[in-house]
């Protein structure tokens, strides 16, 4: 039973009976078909940005995700106002995404293996990391240590959230301090970098996974173009520092297409979780691919849909992120 809230359509809610133009190849894609291919263009392989909920749904065993700390919400400690006030920006993001902030975390199973999972949502103020995002990443890491289950973080972020000032900078410390405890506890940490993973998120937990995966063509950078141009007058080539670049520069282990991401993570978990009994372990049970866990909600959250499609996901939302 859909809940009718005064929400704007979520940016990744593509009405199933309409068409979306692929920014990679300019093909018109039928949205229902695009959902079946996990929001990857079947013609050119362009990976559309997806919400945290859709990401969870695509990755975990069906129905296994139990969200935690969904009630954490951001505050405007600084009384920050630029062209809009921070509270206005937050409210707009909350209404359009149905989230309280730019990350979701909880425990779930993948291939039958219990994990601690945190997923960022770029559609919430550019996935920027403020205190709530930092807190959720930290809690996901602490749960991984406490329950001795692997930590999986899927990043999608423009960087730190400027409206929270140095508090957002301190989230780099908070998250790294917990990641250090995850490592010290010999708990596996798999980092997945999706488009984009930049600024303070790249410069903290996202880059230090035991295994770093990235989706094809994901923009992964520390310094933003504007900072580079403004500080040292260096113009970087378009498309600089995409996922493939980081393979050859040594910071990403593997580029994984979205269609294979779940299976690859399940395989990695099979290696990084030491079996309890002896040196060999039974082969993992074949698990069915997850079905749409959030599909009813997706419908529920776009009641006011005006039928527009939202192909502009390659343009970074302004209004809250810092690179560098």
């Amino acid at each position: 039973m859909p809940v009718r809230l005064p929400f704007r359509p979520r940016r990744d809610a593509y009405p199933p009976d309409l068409w979306t133009k692929c920014p990679g190849c300019a093909e018109m894609l039928f949205n229902k078909q695009l959902d079946k291919t996990l929001r990857v263009c079947p013609h050119c392989g362009h990976h559309f940005r997806i919400s945290a909920r859709m990401r969870v749904e695509q990755l975990v065993d069906q129905g296994s995700f139990v969200e935690r700390d969904a009630d954490l919400a951001p505050v405007d400690t600084l009384g920050f106002v630029d062209l809009k006030s921070y509270p206005d920006r937050l409210l707009a993001a909350q209404l359009s995404t149905g989230l309280r902030d730019a990350a979701v975390w909880g425990v779930a199973a993948m291939g039958g293996k219990r994990i601690s999972l945190c997923v960022m949502d770029f559609f919430f103020i550019g996935g920027s990391m403020g205190s709530v995002v930092g807190e959720k990443v930290a809690r996901a890491g602490e749960a991984a240590v406490a329950e001795r289950i692997p930590l999986l973080i899927v990043s999608s972020s423009g960087g730190a959230r400027m409206q929270e000032g140095t508090y957002s900078l301190m989230q780099l410390v908070k998250t790294m301090s917990v990641v250090e405890r995850v490592k010290a506890a010999r708990v596996p940490f798999i980092s997945v970098m999706t488009d984009p993973t930049t600024g303070g998120v790249f410069a903290s937990f996202a880059v230090v996974g035991d295994v770093n995966l990235a989706e094809p063509n994901a923009l992964i950078r520390f310094a933003g173009d504007r900072v580079s141009a403004g500080t040292i007058g260096e113009e970087l080539p378009p498309g600089y520092a995409r996922a493939e670049f980081w393979i050859s520069h040594g910071f990403v282990d593997r580029i994984v297409a979205r269609a294979k991401l779940r299976d690859e993570i399940v395989s990695l978990l099979g290696f990084l979780i030491a079996p309890i009994n002896g040196p060999t372990e039974p082969a993992p049970n074949p698990t069915s691919r997850p079905r749409a866990f959030f599909s009813a909600l997706t419908g529920a959250l776009s009641p006011d849909s005006n039928g527009e499609s939202h192909p502009a996901d390659t343009a970074a939302p302004r209004g809250g992120t810092t690179n560098g």
């Binding site: 909920r53 149905g98 301090s177 900072v227 910071f251």
Partner: protein, 328 residues
């Protein structure tokens, strides 16, 4: 704090009633290249300093210096940013913009501090890490992340002194510690005011407003609980009396090292962890029902617009966290 600064600067005294201009004067003061940097401060503070070079991986970043100092008879590992005071030195120091090798050198030397039981003192004054391709492709992000991570767990006291610009992640890479000290005229921010203005105001011209909105001054950062101690500057600012500035820093640093030295290492590291673990206010929204693990998202959404204020827990009990507002 800002008022005091303005009281000593005739040129900007006009702005006494203009808080935005006053903050900008503060920013300019923090960026004054004549302020003493790591080596100038050390010269006044230390009886002996042996600089160590190189990251043992790629190079020796001249924008970050590291070494072994003896201050008031104590063995202290010192790491800090080094801008040049003139054009020639600025070129040699790469304009004070560090590359990954700088942070990797810092980590290597800080590891010596832990292994040989020396406390660490860092001096922070950097616009940000070098934002060009040469730093990006060799992993400036990884270097900063690793340095931050290392500093959260190093089993030795760490005192951080922000002496000028505390610029973004580049500053943070050396700014994790048990006590965060700032010189009165220094600034600390998540992004440069110019960068913030470009992104949020869509124009670099609003950098003054951005600096004000981000509360970048040392005094404001202290009020926010990010900075623990603000050291007043002598005369018309640190650059007018580097020796007295160094003396004041030395006094506070030694006092803090005494305090930190009385803790066990386990207590120290746990307190440092908790200090940063609780940074960043948030609220807990009212839950529609008692906590249920499988609460549906629709239930959570119903509670979205009604929140109750909450404070993050403070297990370390160390630092005040400013109250969160209830805007949500």
């Amino acid at each position: 704090m800002v008022e005091r600064l303005l009281g000593r600067h005739g040129a900007v005294e006009d702005h006494r009633d203009d808080p935005v201009s006053a903050v900008w004067a503060h920013v300019q003061q923090a960026r004054n290249l004549k302020r003493p940097h790591t080596l100038e401060l050390l010269k006044a503070m230390a009886d002996e300093f042996i600089e160590l070079h190189g990251d043992r991986l790629f190079g020796d970043d001249t924008a970050i210096v590291a070494g072994l100092a003896r201050i008031a008879g104590r063995r202290i590992v010192v790491v800090g940013f080094q801008k040049g005071q003139d054009t020639e030195e600025n070129i040699r120091r790469n304009f004070g913009l560090p590359h990954p090798d700088g942070y990797r050198k810092a980590m290597r030397v800080m590891d010596l501090a832990e292994r040989f039981s020396m406390p660490i003192l860092t001096f922070v004054d950097v616009q940000g890490a070098f934002p060009g391709a040469a730093a990006e492709e060799r992993g400036i992000a990884e270097a900063i992340a690793k340095s931050v991570g290392l500093m959260t767990r190093l089993r030795t006291p760490i005192v951080v002194v922000i002496t000028g610009e505390g610029g973004s992640g580049g500053a943070l890479g050396l700014a994790v510690g048990d006590t965060i000290i700032a010189l009165e005229n220094s600034i600390y921010s998540v992004i440069s005011p110019e960068g913030c203005a470009t992104i949020l105001w869509r124009s670099g011209e609003q950098s003054h407003e951005a600096a004000t909105a981000m509360k970048v001054t040392a005094g404001e950062q202290q009020e926010l609980g990010i900075v623990d101690i603000v050291i007043p500057e002598p005369g018309d600012g640190a650059h007018t009396d580097p020796v007295e500035t160094a003396r004041r820093i030395k006094e506070v640093v030694l006092e803090r090292l005494d305090v930190l030295g009385r803790m066990t290492i386990d207590e120290l590291v746990e307190a440092r962890f908790q200090k940063f673990r609780v940074m960043g206010p948030y609220v807990v929204a009212d839950r529609p029902t008692p906590p249920q693990e499988r609460a549906s998202i629709t239930d959570r959404l119903r509670g979205l617009l009604s929140t109750r204020p909450s404070m993050p827990s403070m297990p370390g009990g160390g630092h005040d966290v400013p109250p969160g507002r209830e805007e949500v």
